[in-house]
């Protein structure tokens, strides 16, 4: 009887509870499904879009092969540029990060860069060279292969109703059991692209590529040992007199032949604020150092900090540098210095110095650009006078300053001598570089001055103060 009484109370509650739980579970299940479908749809869209753009890319490349009129080829090449760029963006939306697909992405990126450099050129003055014709032909052939393979994958995805969500989890877990049609298809494409014979991409793409390879190889100079690296690090940080108290770790970077530097970590007393530094194995040059520390109340001005930075650079062997940029965040003054030779600013030779605005101490430095670009230079004579260069400038620009400068040229990355004009338009500062040999505008840079980010800039320093 007691049992019956209890069951009479509990049973209805249990039943209602069960129904409730069931309804809840069903609702959850539906919601989960609809979210999964939404995610799947995003992937499907990116994938089918990729196919569409590669199809069109192949069409456009085919057109450039048969068009013979110069002013008809530019729209076609501009389309190639747009489609290659969009296709690359489609790839970026697919879950392919965990598998090798980077050669294909690089291929698409190079197609975009190559076609861009052709499309913006005045083809009536500089028509396509035989080399470029051949490059276009190669691209046409390669796009055909990629298109064929992708088409094959797309057919299977549609016919077999394959889901990208499954691919995603299969890639993440290295699962071999699930249907691998998509993964295999993309692997095949990647393999094909790798096997493509070397395409002649022209100077624009090559100069970037060359630079990257050069950087991986590292600097030239006599090889140093770990012990020597330790000494260099301590001297550079100005900690010679406390050497015995310091805890110094030196790691050798990388394996194989591509390595370049020793990583040094110096702990002086306070374990929370170690000093990290990279020193090249060849030549023993300090590439960068960084010391993280909390900034107390700011005591010095940005001008004083700049003077400190300049003095510090002179003490460390950089004695022909002038400040070109200054910036301030989180209680720090950050300055970019460039080499100056006979009054000409050499922008490729740049170093950056960070000064704490409380103590005025230098607590960060990097010289990657300087180390890779610095060399003995013969600065050429300008063929175009300042007066003549001014006539090239836009009438919108109110020029306030002029000086000479060496910058990296836009097309091939080679250094060119330029007239540098600083001017304003709509309260914004711009630097315009006019090539001193050809008289053409080489580069325009928009500068940010304090007026620009007044409120935002203040926000940041305030935030810092709140936390410290």
């Amino acid at each position: 009887m007691v049992y019956g009484a209890i069951s009479r109370v509990v049973m209805p509650i249990a039943v209602v509870g069960l129904i409730g739980a069931g309804m809840w579970g069903y609702q959850e299940h539906n919601e989960k499904n609809s979210i999964l479908i939404k995610a799947e749809n995003q992937y499907q869209r990116a994938f089918h879009d990729l196919n569409y753009h590669i199809d069109r890319l192949h069409d456009e490349l085919g057109k450039t092969m048969v068009i013979n009129t110069r002013n008809q080829i530019t729209p076609s090449i501009a389309n190639v540029w747009r489609l290659a760029y969009t296709a690359q963006s489609d790839v970026g939306q697919l879950p392919l990060t965990l598998m090798p697909f980077n050669n294909t992405e690089e291929f698409l990126s190079n197609v975009a860069d190559f076609s861009h450099s052709v499309a913006i050129r005045d083809l009536s003055k500089h028509p396509l060279t035989a080399k470029e014709q051949k490059t276009l032909h190669d691209l046409y052939k390669h796009s055909k292969e990629i298109k064929k393979e992708l088409d094959h994958v797309q057919t299977k995805v549609i016919d077999k109703q394959l889901r990208w969500m499954d691919v995603e989890s299969a890639i993440a877990s290295d699962d071999k059991k699930t249907d691998n049609t998509i993964i295999d298809g993309f692997r095949t494409i990647e393999k094909r692209v790798q096997e493509f014979p070397e395409v002649d991409w022209g100077v624009t793409v090559q100069s970037v590529d060359h630079k990257r390879k050069q950087r991986i190889q590292g600097l030239k100079g006599p090889r140093i040992t770990k012990e020597q690296a330790k000494d260099i690090a301590v001297r550079f940080a100005g900690l010679q007199d406390q050497k015995n108290k310091l805890k110094i770790d030196v790691d050798s970077d990388g394996k194989g032949t591509d390595y370049t530097a020793y990583s040094v970590r110096i702990v002086d007393g306070n374990v929370d604020n170690p000093l990290s530094m990279d020193i090249t194995k060849n030549g023993g040059r300090v590439v960068w150092f960084l010391k993280e520390k909390e900034i107390q109340e700011e005591r010095i001005t940005i001008e004083q900090a700049e003077a400190n930075a300049n003095r510090w650079l002179k003490d460390h062997g950089y004695d022909t540098m002038v400040a070109a940029e200054s910036d301030s965040y989180d209680g720090l003054g950050v300055f970019t210095f460039v080499n100056q030779q006979n009054g000409v600013r050499i922008y490729p030779d740049s170093v950056t110095v960070k000064v704490a605005l409380d103590t005025g101490e230098v607590n960060g430095f990097h010289a990657v650009e300087y180390l890779y670009n610095n060399k003995v230079r013969q600065i050429p004579q300008a063929k175009i006078t300042e007066q003549k260069a001014r006539t090239v400038l836009s009438p919108n620009l109110k020029v306030t300053e002029h000086r000479m400068a060496m910058i990296e040229g836009k097309m091939d990355g080679k250094e060119v001598l330029c007239h540098e004009f600083t001017g304003t338009f709509d309260n914004q500062t711009y630097m315009v570089y006019v090539n001193a040999q050809t008289g053409q505008e080489e580069e325009v840079v928009r500068m940010e001055t304090e007026q620009d980010d007044e409120v935002e800039g203040m926000d940041e320093t305030q935030e810092q103060n709140e936390t410290t």
């Binding site: 809840w24 970026g92 394996k255 007044e454 409120v455 203040m458």
Partner: protein, 194 residues
């Protein structure tokens, strides 16, 4: 009286049962709705807090405006891009040493410069499966000033990785392919590779 008592008690029991049932249903419903909308709810709170802080800051900004220093530099990523990157860095590496955080920010920047990856920091960060913190939602945590500073340092050119575009945590990495890439160095828990 005698006869109506059991009826009454049964009615009572049923009423209790129904009430409990309804309450439990409501409870379940409440939990399910709040658990789904937990993030927006939280961010609403954050937004309120943010506006409050912003108002405070603005008040102080006015007082301090005169002390503003002269700066002059090339225009770079917007404040919001920096915030987004700080979110990613914080989500990925909040327990890591400072250099490790600068390194993560550098990888994002190096990827956006590389032809093998999307162009904008946002596209790099939200590339599917590129960052675990994006996949599991940790990117929506509020970053601390340290992460933001790490992003700023990386933007100004400090790159502890020396140009790396990949990194992984050897303890949790599931992809075998990542081990095959040329490794450059280890910072904290992460191995950085080209």
């Amino acid at each position: 009286m005698e006869a109506s008592r059991p009826v009454n008690s049964r009615l009572l029991k049923w009423t209790i049962a129904v009430v409990i049932g309804v309450v439990s249903l409501l409870g379940v419903h409440y939990i399910s709705t709040t658990s789904v909308s937990a993030q927006p709810g939280l961010s609403q709170y954050d937004a309120a807090l943010d506006t409050e802080m912003a108002a405070k800051r603005k008040a102080r900004t006015k007082a301090k405006k005169k002390k503003k220093k002269k700066t002059f530099h090339i225009s770079r990523l917007s404040q919001n891009d920096i915030k987004l990157m700080a979110n990613a860095v914080y989500g990925e590496a909040r327990g890591e040493p400072y250099i490790g955080q600068v390194a993560i920010a550098s990888v994002i920047i190096n990827r956006s410069k590389s032809p093998n990856f999307p162009e904008s920091p946002a596209a790099v960060i939200f590339e599917p499966r590129a960052f675990t913190a994006v996949a599991d939602g940790q990117i929506y945590l509020t970053p601390n000033p340290k992460a933001k500073k790490a992003v700023r340092d990386a933007m100004r050119g400090w790159d502890p990785t020396g140009g790396c575009t990949y990194y992984f945590n050897p303890a949790t990495a599931t992809s075998k392919w990542i081990w095959g890439r040329p490794q450059v160095k280890r910072i904290g828990k992460h191995i950085f590779c080209r």
